[in-house]
Protein backbone atom coordinates (compact mmCIF):
# COMPACT_ATOMS: atom_id res chain seq x y z
CA UNK A 1 0.00 0.00 0.00
CA UNK A 2 1.22 3.41 -1.08
CA UNK A 3 0.63 5.13 2.25
CA UNK A 4 3.33 3.02 3.91
CA UNK A 5 5.80 5.15 1.97
CA UNK A 6 4.61 8.29 3.73
CA UNK A 7 2.31 9.81 1.13
CA UNK A 8 -1.47 9.97 1.11
CA UNK A 9 -3.40 8.11 -1.56
CA UNK A 10 -6.80 8.75 -3.09
CA UNK A 11 -8.21 5.37 -4.10
CA UNK A 12 -11.15 5.55 -6.50
CA UNK A 13 -13.51 2.63 -6.32
CA UNK A 14 -16.85 2.00 -8.01
CA UNK A 15 -19.80 1.12 -5.78
CA UNK A 16 -19.96 -2.64 -6.51
CA UNK A 17 -16.37 -2.90 -5.22
CA UNK A 18 -16.96 -1.05 -1.96
CA UNK A 19 -17.31 -4.20 0.15
CA UNK A 20 -14.22 -5.68 -1.48
CA UNK A 21 -12.16 -2.56 -0.86
CA UNK A 22 -13.22 -2.35 2.79
CA UNK A 23 -12.47 -6.03 3.28
CA UNK A 24 -8.95 -5.77 1.85
CA UNK A 25 -8.23 -2.68 3.94
CA UNK A 26 -9.47 -4.41 7.10
CA UNK A 27 -7.40 -7.53 6.39
CA UNK A 28 -4.32 -5.34 6.04
CA UNK A 29 -4.92 -3.66 9.38
CA UNK A 30 -6.61 -0.49 8.09
CA UNK A 31 -10.30 -0.91 8.89
CA UNK A 32 -12.35 2.10 7.86
CA UNK A 33 -9.79 3.28 5.29
CA UNK A 34 -11.55 6.00 3.29
CA UNK A 35 -12.15 5.13 -0.34
CA UNK A 36 -13.56 7.53 -2.92
CA UNK A 37 -16.74 5.94 -4.20
CA UNK A 38 -17.71 6.67 -7.79
CA UNK A 39 -20.70 5.57 -9.77
CA UNK A 40 -20.36 2.29 -11.68
CA UNK A 41 -19.53 1.59 -14.51
CA UNK A 42 -16.63 3.54 -15.98
CA UNK A 43 -15.67 1.47 -19.01
CA UNK A 44 -18.64 2.26 -21.22
CA UNK A 45 -19.22 5.93 -20.20
CA UNK A 46 -18.85 9.09 -22.31
CA UNK A 47 -16.29 11.75 -21.49
CA UNK A 48 -19.00 14.06 -20.10
CA UNK A 49 -20.17 11.32 -17.73
CA UNK A 50 -16.62 10.64 -16.61
CA UNK A 51 -16.11 14.36 -15.91
CA UNK A 52 -19.14 14.24 -13.60
CA UNK A 53 -17.60 11.31 -11.74
CA UNK A 54 -14.30 13.19 -11.54
CA UNK A 55 -16.01 16.15 -9.86
CA UNK A 56 -17.62 13.80 -7.40
CA UNK A 57 -14.25 12.14 -6.75
CA UNK A 58 -12.57 15.51 -6.23
CA UNK A 59 -15.08 16.52 -3.55
CA UNK A 60 -14.61 13.26 -1.68
CA UNK A 61 -10.80 13.41 -2.03
CA UNK A 62 -10.38 16.75 -0.26
CA UNK A 63 -10.97 15.47 3.29
CA UNK A 64 -9.00 12.30 2.55
CA UNK A 65 -5.93 14.37 1.72
CA UNK A 66 -6.22 17.04 4.37
CA UNK A 67 -7.77 15.40 7.44
Amino acid sequence: MFEQLGKRAVVLCTHPFEVTANNIAATMGLPGYPFVMVEHPIGSRTLAEIKERAEDAYQQALPILLD
Binding site: T20, N23, I24, T27, M28, S44
Partner: protein, 353 residues
Amino acid sequence: MNTTAHRHEVPDDPLGAIDYCFDQGWTDGLPVVPPEAGRVAAMLAFEGRPPETVIAEHPATGLRLTVESLAANAVMAGCKPEYLPVLVAAFEAMNEPDFNFHGSCASTGGSAPLLIVSGPAVEELGLNSGVNLFGPGNRANATIGRAVRLALLNVFKMIPGISDKSTQGHPGKFSFCIGERADRSPWPRLCEALDYPEGVSSVTVYAGAGFVNLENHGANTPEMLCDSFADGMANYGCISKGETVLVVSPEHAKIIGDAGWSREQTQAYLFERARRTVGQLQAIGKYHQREHERGQKLGADDAEHIHRGLTPDDILIVVGGGDAGGHSAFIPSWSRTRGSLRQSKPIGVCLDC
Protein backbone atom coordinates in the same frame (compact mmCIF):
# COMPACT_ATOMS: atom_id res chain seq x y z
CA MET B 1 3.20 -32.93 16.24
CA ASN B 2 3.99 -29.26 15.82
CA THR B 3 0.82 -27.57 14.69
CA THR B 4 -0.26 -23.96 14.47
CA ALA B 5 -3.96 -24.26 13.76
CA HIS B 6 -6.62 -23.59 16.34
CA ARG B 7 -8.49 -26.68 17.54
CA HIS B 8 -12.18 -27.02 18.23
CA GLU B 9 -13.53 -29.50 20.78
CA VAL B 10 -16.91 -30.81 19.64
CA PRO B 11 -19.08 -33.72 20.88
CA ASP B 12 -18.36 -37.17 19.42
CA ASP B 13 -21.26 -36.90 17.00
CA PRO B 14 -20.29 -36.92 13.32
CA LEU B 15 -23.63 -35.53 12.10
CA GLY B 16 -23.48 -32.79 14.69
CA ALA B 17 -19.91 -32.04 13.59
CA ILE B 18 -21.13 -31.59 10.00
CA ASP B 19 -23.61 -29.02 11.28
CA TYR B 20 -20.85 -27.43 13.31
CA CYS B 21 -18.80 -26.95 10.12
CA PHE B 22 -21.82 -25.29 8.46
CA ASP B 23 -22.22 -23.01 11.47
CA GLN B 24 -18.56 -21.99 11.32
CA GLY B 25 -18.97 -20.99 7.64
CA TRP B 26 -16.35 -23.53 6.52
CA THR B 27 -18.21 -25.03 3.58
CA ASP B 28 -18.81 -24.38 -0.11
CA GLY B 29 -22.54 -24.83 0.46
CA LEU B 30 -22.38 -28.62 0.52
CA PRO B 31 -21.79 -30.70 3.64
CA VAL B 32 -18.14 -31.37 4.46
CA VAL B 33 -16.32 -34.17 6.25
CA PRO B 34 -15.43 -32.66 9.64
CA PRO B 35 -11.66 -31.99 9.76
CA GLU B 36 -11.12 -34.38 12.66
CA ALA B 37 -7.57 -34.22 14.03
CA GLY B 38 -6.74 -37.87 13.30
CA ARG B 39 -7.80 -37.59 9.70
CA VAL B 40 -5.81 -34.41 9.24
CA ALA B 41 -2.74 -36.11 10.75
CA ALA B 42 -3.14 -39.05 8.35
CA MET B 43 -3.31 -36.58 5.48
CA LEU B 44 -0.16 -34.81 6.71
CA ALA B 45 1.74 -38.10 6.57
CA PHE B 46 1.79 -37.67 2.79
CA GLU B 47 3.76 -34.43 3.00
CA GLY B 48 7.34 -34.55 4.22
CA ARG B 49 7.54 -31.01 5.51
CA PRO B 50 6.32 -29.71 8.90
CA PRO B 51 2.63 -28.76 9.22
CA GLU B 52 3.43 -25.06 9.60
CA THR B 53 5.27 -24.93 6.25
CA VAL B 54 3.82 -22.12 4.15
CA ILE B 55 2.92 -23.18 0.61
CA ALA B 56 1.28 -20.03 -0.71
CA GLU B 57 0.81 -16.44 0.39
CA HIS B 58 -1.83 -13.99 -0.75
CA PRO B 59 0.00 -11.10 -2.39
CA ALA B 60 -2.41 -8.41 -1.21
CA THR B 61 -3.61 -9.54 2.20
CA GLY B 62 -0.62 -11.57 3.36
CA LEU B 63 -2.86 -14.52 4.27
CA ARG B 64 -0.89 -17.75 4.20
CA LEU B 65 -1.69 -21.34 3.39
CA THR B 66 0.17 -23.90 5.49
CA VAL B 67 0.43 -27.60 4.80
CA GLU B 68 -1.77 -28.20 7.84
CA SER B 69 -4.55 -25.86 6.71
CA LEU B 70 -4.45 -27.44 3.29
CA ALA B 71 -4.72 -30.90 4.83
CA ALA B 72 -7.71 -29.80 6.93
CA ASN B 73 -9.47 -28.47 3.84
CA ALA B 74 -8.59 -31.62 1.92
CA VAL B 75 -10.19 -33.75 4.64
CA MET B 76 -13.29 -31.56 4.50
CA ALA B 77 -13.45 -31.94 0.71
CA GLY B 78 -13.43 -35.74 1.07
CA CYS B 79 -9.90 -36.32 -0.24
CA LYS B 80 -7.93 -39.49 0.40
CA PRO B 81 -4.59 -38.76 2.14
CA GLU B 82 -2.64 -39.68 -0.98
CA TYR B 83 -4.22 -36.79 -2.90
CA LEU B 84 -2.44 -34.20 -0.74
CA PRO B 85 0.74 -33.94 -2.89
CA VAL B 86 -1.41 -32.92 -5.89
CA LEU B 87 -2.92 -30.12 -3.82
CA VAL B 88 0.47 -28.98 -2.54
CA ALA B 89 1.82 -28.85 -6.10
CA ALA B 90 -1.30 -27.02 -7.30
CA PHE B 91 -0.96 -24.28 -4.69
CA GLU B 92 2.77 -24.01 -5.33
CA ALA B 93 1.88 -23.41 -8.96
CA MET B 94 -0.78 -20.85 -8.05
CA ASN B 95 1.70 -19.10 -5.78
CA GLU B 96 3.88 -18.21 -8.79
CA PRO B 97 3.47 -14.47 -9.37
CA ASP B 98 2.54 -14.91 -13.03
CA PHE B 99 -0.49 -16.97 -12.04
CA ASN B 100 -1.86 -14.05 -10.03
CA PHE B 101 -4.22 -16.10 -7.97
CA HIS B 102 -5.67 -13.13 -6.15
CA GLY B 103 -6.82 -11.52 -9.38
CA SER B 104 -8.08 -14.69 -10.94
CA CYS B 105 -10.07 -15.58 -7.82
CA ALA B 106 -11.39 -12.09 -7.04
CA SER B 107 -12.28 -10.82 -10.49
CA THR B 108 -15.74 -10.33 -11.92
CA GLY B 109 -14.54 -12.70 -14.66
CA GLY B 110 -15.41 -15.53 -12.29
CA SER B 111 -12.73 -18.03 -13.15
CA ALA B 112 -11.78 -21.23 -11.39
CA PRO B 113 -8.35 -22.82 -11.21
CA LEU B 114 -8.44 -25.74 -13.66
CA LEU B 115 -6.07 -28.53 -12.56
CA ILE B 116 -4.76 -30.84 -15.27
CA VAL B 117 -2.84 -33.80 -13.87
CA SER B 118 -0.47 -35.65 -16.19
CA GLY B 119 1.66 -38.75 -15.71
CA PRO B 120 1.50 -41.90 -13.61
CA ALA B 121 -0.38 -40.09 -10.82
CA VAL B 122 -3.50 -40.14 -13.01
CA GLU B 123 -3.71 -43.92 -12.73
CA GLU B 124 -2.21 -44.21 -9.26
CA LEU B 125 -4.75 -41.84 -7.71
CA GLY B 126 -7.64 -43.04 -9.87
CA LEU B 127 -8.18 -39.68 -11.52
CA ASN B 128 -10.73 -39.69 -14.29
CA SER B 129 -9.36 -38.81 -17.71
CA GLY B 130 -12.17 -40.47 -19.65
CA VAL B 131 -15.93 -40.50 -19.93
CA ASN B 132 -17.74 -37.59 -18.23
CA LEU B 133 -14.37 -35.96 -17.68
CA PHE B 134 -15.66 -32.69 -16.25
CA GLY B 135 -18.70 -34.23 -14.61
CA PRO B 136 -19.43 -35.96 -11.32
CA GLY B 137 -18.81 -39.55 -10.27
CA ASN B 138 -15.11 -39.77 -9.48
CA ARG B 139 -13.74 -39.19 -6.01
CA ALA B 140 -10.25 -37.95 -6.94
CA ASN B 141 -11.42 -35.39 -9.49
CA ALA B 142 -14.34 -34.20 -7.40
CA THR B 143 -12.53 -33.87 -4.09
CA ILE B 144 -9.16 -32.53 -5.27
CA GLY B 145 -10.89 -29.73 -7.15
CA ARG B 146 -13.20 -29.11 -4.20
CA ALA B 147 -10.29 -28.91 -1.76
CA VAL B 148 -8.76 -26.14 -3.87
CA ARG B 149 -11.97 -24.16 -3.58
CA LEU B 150 -12.37 -24.80 0.15
CA ALA B 151 -8.81 -23.56 0.79
CA LEU B 152 -9.50 -20.46 -1.28
CA LEU B 153 -12.65 -19.81 0.72
CA ASN B 154 -11.40 -20.68 4.20
CA VAL B 155 -7.74 -19.69 4.16
CA PHE B 156 -7.57 -16.96 1.55
CA LYS B 157 -11.04 -15.62 2.36
CA MET B 158 -12.10 -15.43 -1.27
CA ILE B 159 -15.68 -14.98 -0.15
CA PRO B 160 -18.38 -14.56 -2.80
CA GLY B 161 -19.70 -11.02 -2.84
CA ILE B 162 -16.94 -9.75 -0.58
CA SER B 163 -13.55 -10.63 -1.97
CA ASP B 164 -14.76 -12.82 -4.85
CA LYS B 165 -16.64 -10.52 -7.20
CA SER B 166 -17.50 -13.11 -9.89
CA THR B 167 -20.38 -11.68 -11.88
CA GLN B 168 -21.72 -15.15 -12.62
CA GLY B 169 -19.00 -17.62 -11.65
CA HIS B 170 -19.22 -21.10 -13.18
CA PRO B 171 -19.74 -24.67 -12.03
CA GLY B 172 -15.99 -25.34 -12.07
CA LYS B 173 -15.78 -23.20 -8.98
CA PHE B 174 -17.09 -26.19 -7.03
CA SER B 175 -14.43 -28.44 -8.52
CA PHE B 176 -12.32 -28.27 -11.70
CA CYS B 177 -9.79 -31.06 -11.93
CA ILE B 178 -9.08 -33.53 -14.74
CA GLY B 179 -6.54 -36.15 -15.70
CA GLU B 180 -4.77 -36.26 -19.05
CA ARG B 181 -5.83 -39.24 -21.15
CA ALA B 182 -2.47 -40.56 -22.28
CA ASP B 183 -3.71 -43.83 -23.86
CA ARG B 184 -5.64 -41.97 -26.56
CA SER B 185 -3.26 -39.09 -27.08
CA PRO B 186 -1.18 -38.91 -30.26
CA TRP B 187 1.25 -36.58 -28.51
CA PRO B 188 3.76 -36.79 -25.65
CA ARG B 189 2.17 -36.43 -22.23
CA LEU B 190 2.12 -32.95 -20.72
CA CYS B 191 4.60 -33.99 -18.01
CA GLU B 192 6.95 -35.15 -20.79
CA ALA B 193 6.42 -31.97 -22.78
CA LEU B 194 7.36 -30.09 -19.62
CA ASP B 195 10.63 -32.08 -19.51
CA TYR B 196 10.08 -33.51 -16.06
CA PRO B 197 12.14 -36.65 -15.31
CA GLU B 198 10.75 -40.04 -16.26
CA GLY B 199 8.05 -41.14 -13.82
CA VAL B 200 7.39 -37.68 -12.39
CA SER B 201 3.80 -36.51 -12.67
CA SER B 202 2.75 -32.89 -13.05
CA VAL B 203 -0.13 -30.63 -12.33
CA THR B 204 -0.85 -27.64 -14.55
CA VAL B 205 -3.07 -24.92 -13.11
CA TYR B 206 -4.91 -22.51 -15.36
CA ALA B 207 -7.33 -19.75 -14.43
CA GLY B 208 -10.19 -20.96 -16.59
CA ALA B 209 -13.42 -19.22 -17.44
CA GLY B 210 -16.62 -21.04 -18.46
CA PHE B 211 -16.66 -24.10 -20.63
CA VAL B 212 -17.18 -23.96 -24.42
CA ASN B 213 -18.32 -27.20 -26.05
CA LEU B 214 -16.67 -27.70 -29.45
CA GLU B 215 -19.01 -30.11 -31.20
CA ASN B 216 -18.13 -31.51 -34.60
CA HIS B 217 -19.26 -34.97 -35.65
CA GLY B 218 -18.78 -34.39 -39.39
CA ALA B 219 -15.14 -33.41 -39.71
CA ASN B 220 -12.79 -36.05 -41.05
CA THR B 221 -9.62 -34.04 -41.60
CA PRO B 222 -7.55 -32.07 -39.08
CA GLU B 223 -8.20 -28.92 -41.07
CA MET B 224 -12.00 -29.29 -40.86
CA LEU B 225 -11.79 -30.03 -37.18
CA CYS B 226 -9.29 -27.33 -36.26
CA ASP B 227 -11.21 -24.73 -38.26
CA SER B 228 -14.20 -25.40 -36.02
CA PHE B 229 -12.00 -25.29 -32.90
CA ALA B 230 -10.46 -21.98 -34.00
CA ASP B 231 -13.89 -20.51 -34.59
CA GLY B 232 -14.83 -21.34 -30.99
CA MET B 233 -11.58 -19.89 -29.69
CA ALA B 234 -12.16 -16.64 -31.55
CA ASN B 235 -15.84 -16.22 -30.79
CA TYR B 236 -16.77 -12.65 -29.94
CA GLY B 237 -17.48 -13.41 -26.31
CA CYS B 238 -14.16 -15.13 -25.73
CA ILE B 239 -11.51 -13.65 -28.00
CA SER B 240 -8.70 -11.98 -26.10
CA LYS B 241 -4.93 -11.94 -25.79
CA GLY B 242 -5.15 -14.56 -23.06
CA GLU B 243 -4.12 -18.21 -23.15
CA THR B 244 -6.20 -21.18 -24.28
CA VAL B 245 -6.81 -24.67 -22.97
CA LEU B 246 -8.16 -27.11 -25.49
CA VAL B 247 -9.24 -30.51 -24.19
CA VAL B 248 -9.49 -32.68 -27.29
CA SER B 249 -11.75 -35.71 -27.15
CA PRO B 250 -10.28 -39.09 -28.18
CA GLU B 251 -12.38 -39.17 -31.37
CA HIS B 252 -11.14 -35.77 -32.42
CA ALA B 253 -7.56 -36.55 -31.32
CA LYS B 254 -7.57 -39.62 -33.60
CA ILE B 255 -8.43 -37.52 -36.65
CA ILE B 256 -5.56 -35.15 -35.93
CA GLY B 257 -3.13 -37.88 -34.91
CA ASP B 258 -3.88 -40.13 -37.89
CA ALA B 259 -2.92 -37.25 -40.17
CA GLY B 260 0.44 -37.11 -38.41
CA TRP B 261 0.03 -33.63 -37.01
CA SER B 262 2.27 -32.91 -34.06
CA ARG B 263 1.04 -30.91 -31.08
CA GLU B 264 3.15 -27.95 -32.26
CA GLN B 265 1.72 -28.15 -35.77
CA THR B 266 -1.80 -28.21 -34.36
CA GLN B 267 -1.05 -25.24 -32.12
CA ALA B 268 0.35 -23.27 -35.06
CA TYR B 269 -2.68 -24.04 -37.24
CA LEU B 270 -5.11 -23.01 -34.51
CA PHE B 271 -3.20 -19.84 -33.68
CA GLU B 272 -3.20 -18.76 -37.30
CA ARG B 273 -6.97 -19.17 -37.61
CA ALA B 274 -8.25 -18.09 -34.20
CA ARG B 275 -8.47 -14.43 -35.07
CA ARG B 276 -10.75 -11.51 -35.84
CA THR B 277 -10.36 -8.40 -37.94
CA VAL B 278 -9.90 -4.99 -36.39
CA GLY B 279 -13.19 -3.91 -37.95
CA GLN B 280 -15.10 -6.82 -36.42
CA LEU B 281 -13.84 -6.07 -32.94
CA GLN B 282 -14.44 -2.34 -33.36
CA ALA B 283 -18.04 -3.09 -34.37
CA ILE B 284 -18.73 -4.86 -31.07
CA GLY B 285 -16.74 -2.45 -28.87
CA LYS B 286 -13.99 -4.91 -28.00
CA TYR B 287 -11.10 -3.38 -29.92
CA HIS B 288 -8.18 -2.36 -27.69
CA GLN B 289 -5.59 -0.44 -29.61
CA ARG B 290 -2.80 -0.92 -27.10
CA GLU B 291 -3.24 -4.71 -27.06
CA HIS B 292 -3.25 -4.75 -30.84
CA GLU B 293 -0.09 -2.68 -31.01
CA ARG B 294 1.58 -5.05 -28.60
CA GLY B 295 0.42 -8.01 -30.70
CA GLN B 296 1.89 -6.43 -33.81
CA LYS B 297 5.13 -5.66 -32.06
CA LEU B 298 5.48 -9.30 -31.05
CA GLY B 299 4.66 -10.50 -34.54
CA ALA B 300 1.40 -12.15 -33.46
CA ASP B 301 -0.91 -9.74 -35.25
CA ASP B 302 -0.79 -7.85 -38.52
CA ALA B 303 -2.38 -4.49 -39.20
CA GLU B 304 -5.73 -6.07 -40.04
CA HIS B 305 -6.02 -9.05 -37.72
CA ILE B 306 -6.00 -9.76 -34.01
CA HIS B 307 -5.23 -13.32 -32.98
CA ARG B 308 -6.30 -15.08 -29.83
CA GLY B 309 -3.20 -15.08 -27.59
CA LEU B 310 0.31 -13.97 -28.43
CA THR B 311 1.96 -17.17 -29.69
CA PRO B 312 0.99 -20.75 -30.65
CA ASP B 313 2.49 -21.89 -27.32
CA ASP B 314 -0.34 -20.06 -25.58
CA ILE B 315 -2.59 -22.91 -26.69
CA LEU B 316 -2.35 -25.85 -24.30
CA ILE B 317 -3.64 -28.98 -26.01
CA VAL B 318 -4.45 -32.05 -23.94
CA VAL B 319 -6.51 -35.16 -24.67
CA GLY B 320 -9.38 -36.10 -22.39
CA GLY B 321 -12.87 -37.55 -22.41
CA GLY B 322 -14.75 -40.73 -23.31
CA ASP B 323 -14.11 -42.97 -26.31
CA ALA B 324 -17.21 -41.89 -28.17
CA GLY B 325 -18.35 -38.46 -29.19
CA GLY B 326 -17.23 -35.52 -31.26
CA HIS B 327 -17.11 -33.15 -28.30
CA SER B 328 -13.98 -31.31 -27.35
CA ALA B 329 -13.77 -28.38 -24.95
CA PHE B 330 -12.31 -24.92 -25.13
CA ILE B 331 -11.63 -23.32 -21.76
CA PRO B 332 -11.07 -19.59 -22.25
CA SER B 333 -8.60 -17.86 -20.02
CA TRP B 334 -9.94 -15.70 -17.24
CA SER B 335 -7.46 -13.02 -18.18
CA ARG B 336 -8.31 -10.90 -21.18
CA THR B 337 -4.70 -9.89 -21.45
CA ARG B 338 -1.79 -11.62 -19.76
CA GLY B 339 -3.09 -11.20 -16.21
CA SER B 340 -2.73 -14.86 -15.36
CA LEU B 341 -0.48 -17.39 -17.05
CA ARG B 342 -0.78 -21.15 -16.52
CA GLN B 343 1.80 -22.72 -14.23
CA SER B 344 2.98 -26.31 -13.82
CA LYS B 345 4.67 -28.11 -10.95
CA PRO B 346 5.90 -31.67 -10.41
CA ILE B 347 3.85 -33.67 -7.92
CA GLY B 348 5.42 -34.96 -4.72
CA VAL B 349 9.02 -34.12 -5.61
CA CYS B 350 11.18 -31.05 -5.41
CA LEU B 351 13.29 -30.87 -8.54
CA ASP B 352 15.26 -27.86 -7.31
CA CYS B 353 16.08 -29.27 -3.84
